[in-house]
């Protein structure tokens, strides 16, 4: 048995600190950035900077969240093969509480009216008549109709419930996994199984509703029944890719001796399969809206494809997240090849970051979008943060679990 612990080397640590410093400086500089040309500087709320923060907050929290989901899935289904890489997806899931705090801060800033990414957070839009009896020019009947769902009390109850319950599940899984290392036996295994199933039930509902609350409500006049799944699939593929890239990194550094080609192959299959799941949902959402051709629904794609000039980005996202993974990962050898997996994984991660960008930006900064220093700098900062959190968690526990009941089976995993 290989009990080698991962050492978080100073070199890696300084790289992540450097990235985080870049991110922090970018965010600070971004808030000193004035409004774009033609926008009244008075009362300017740094929409672009907040929108970037939302893109990154959501995308990276999704990685931690869906790693937790994947972990719960493995427990609930009593999966054996993945036990050898269990510590890796556990470490990726450790970003969830951090991401939840960041997400909470970003949404809270909206409620405090520091930004107005969410139109419905403005209390004026649901007031029909002004106090003097004249009609309110800001009144928005669509938002007023949705007030039952988007009132601050219900919204905050939901938001806090998602973030807290998800994080508690994640912490519980992690704690029990470390206990199992010392204790052994099957008691913890069965407990994890039950909790995993419970998480999946909770997540089945909240994965969709959280996407409606934080992402779809940016386009509050619009709705799509596919949106929750589409956002979920996008987060899932990002999480699977992060897990696979972390495994490959550790293999490259000489850790994880017990992980063989078949484990890598299976993770590659996951990456391939979830890419397809995302493409399927992405296309279905588009096709249903395109076919029915109802103005309330087509506005979403009209804004993106024609109105605000996201046509190029939409196609880029399609190619990066569907065409490249499909062609490059189709063969068996590619799913076992380090270079192929790293290249495709990087393409997929960037592609899905751009996908979240396409969800947020057309609804917030609209036509005034650039992939400039603010976007890239902030994203680098978050990359540094997530790498730091993952690697710190990896270093805290043995890289191979010690006493999982299916450990032996996983070490003999073939195909």
């Amino acid at each position: 048995m290989n009990n080698l612990n991962y050492t978080f080397t100073n070199k890696t640590k300084y790289i992540t600190f450097g990235l985080m410093a870049i991110g922090l400086l970018t965010i600070i500089a971004g808030f000193f950035q004035g409004p774009p040309e033609g926008v009244n500087p008075e009362g300017y709320q740094h929409t672009r900077m907040w929108a970037i923060l939302l893109v990154n907050g959501y995308f990276f929290m999704g990685i931690g969240l869906l790693a937790t989901f994947f972990m719960a899935l493995q427990y609930a289904a009593e999966v054996a093969w993945s036990v050898a890489v269990k510590r890796v997806y556990e470490a990726v899931s450790c970003y969830l509480p951090v991401g939840a705090v960041i997400m909470f801060i970003i949404v809270l800033a909206g409620q405090l009216h520091l930004h107005h990414l969410y139109q419905w957070m403005d209390p004026d839009v649901i007031v029909k008549n002004l106090p003097d009896g004249t009609p309110n020019p800001k009144f928005d009947p669509v938002i007023a109709n949705k007030h039952g769902y988007f009132n601050p009390v219900f919204f905050w109850a939901r938001t806090i419930a998602y973030l807290v319950v998800w994080s508690l599940f994640q912490q519980g899984f992690r704690k029990r996994s470390l206990e199992e290392d010392l204790q052994g036996g099957t008691a913890i295994h069965y407990k994890n199984m039950g909790k995993g199933a419970l998480f999946l039930v909770f997540f089945a509902v909240t994965s969709s509703t959280s996407a409606w609350d934080w992402m779809m409500s940016l386009d509050v006049h619009w709705f799509s029944t596919m949106y929750g799944w589409y956002a979920f699939a996008g987060m899932w593929i990002s999480a699977m890719t992060t897990i696979l890239l972390t495994v490959l990194f550790l293999k490259r550094k000489g850790y994880l001796e017990n992980v063989n080609d078949s484990h890598i192959h299976d993770l590659g299959k996951w990456m391939f399969a979830v890419s397809f799941l995302w493409s399927y949902l992405y296309f279905c959402q588009y096709m249903l809206i395109w076919y029915t051709n109802i103005p309330e629904e087509t506005i979403y794609f009209h804004d993106r494809l024609h109105g605000f000039g996201y046509m190029g980005l939409m196609w880029t996202v399609f190619f990066m997240n569907f065409a490249f993974p499909m062609i490059l990962l189709m063969s068996r050898d590619a799913k076992r090849n380090y270079y192929f997996l790293v290249i495709v994984g990087t393409i997929i991660l960037i592609g899905h970051w751009l996908d979240v960008y396409n969800m947020v930006m057309p609804a917030t900064v609209k036509g005034d979008h650039h992939l400039g220093w603010m976007e890239i700098g902030t994203a680098l900062g978050f990359v540094g943060l997530i790498i730091f959190v993952i690697h710190r968690s990896l270093a805290k526990a043995p890289l191979t679990v010690q006493k999982h009941p299916y450990l032996d089976e996983s070490l003999h995993h073939q195909y």
């Binding site: 588009y286 096709m287 073939q414």
Partner: protein
């Protein structure tokens, strides 16, 4: 010098794999293995070349995609353009989203059926063929390795098989094709 066919029966996959490796490392080629279920790693152990079925599947898939595209282009654009849902079919690419599901289904259909038919033809599992399995126990809980060799090597191979855990060794004149 006459040829002989050795049928070695195993009751577990582990000795079977071990035995296959021993024989192959001694330069003895294995004709075939009959097994009640797929044994992981057996293909490589008995020295079968990599299967071409994946490449065949890819080609069948492309065929299905092309056929579907041709069919829909002919029916919906060329021969009888139809205005469905306010989308007159002036060009194939303009109505592309509507054609994607059919292209996908046709690709999968052709790839799956093509693979199955290729498999049946390659194994010659067609109506009226005689069973090629020399021992019905291999459909239940036994594994059988078939080795074709010269009479002079027989005792050597048999002792190697015994050592690796074969529970039964028969000489057979069972003739099976391919």
């Amino acid at each position: 010098m006459s040829n002989v066919t050795i049928h070695a029966i195993f009751d577990d996959e582990e000795p079977l794999l071990a035995s296959a490796k021993t024989l192959r490392s001694n330069g003895i080629s294995i004709k075939d293995v009959f097994s009640p279920f797929p044994v992981h790693g057996l293909d490589a152990a008995i020295g079968l070349p990599r299967t071409w079925i994946a490449i065949c599947a890819f080609i069948y898939g492309l065929t299905g995609l092309s056929l579907a595209t041709l069919m829909m282009w002919y029916m919906m654009v060329h021969d009888w353009p139809t205005n469905i849902g306010g989308k007159p079919s002036f060009a194939y690419y303009m109505n592309m989203p509507a054609f994607i599901p059919i292209s996908f289904e046709s690709t999968v259909f052709c790839a799956a059926h093509g693979m199955a038919i290729t498999f049946y033809l390659r194994c010659w599992l067609v109506p009226g063929t005689k069973p090629k399995n020399p021992d019905p126990r291999t459909t239940d809980d036994k594994f059988m390795m078939v080795i074709e060799t010269k009479e002079e090597n027989r005792s050597n191979i048999e002792s190697m098989l015994k050592k690796d855990g074969a529970i039964e060794i028969n000489n057979s004149d069972f003739k099976y094709r391919n």
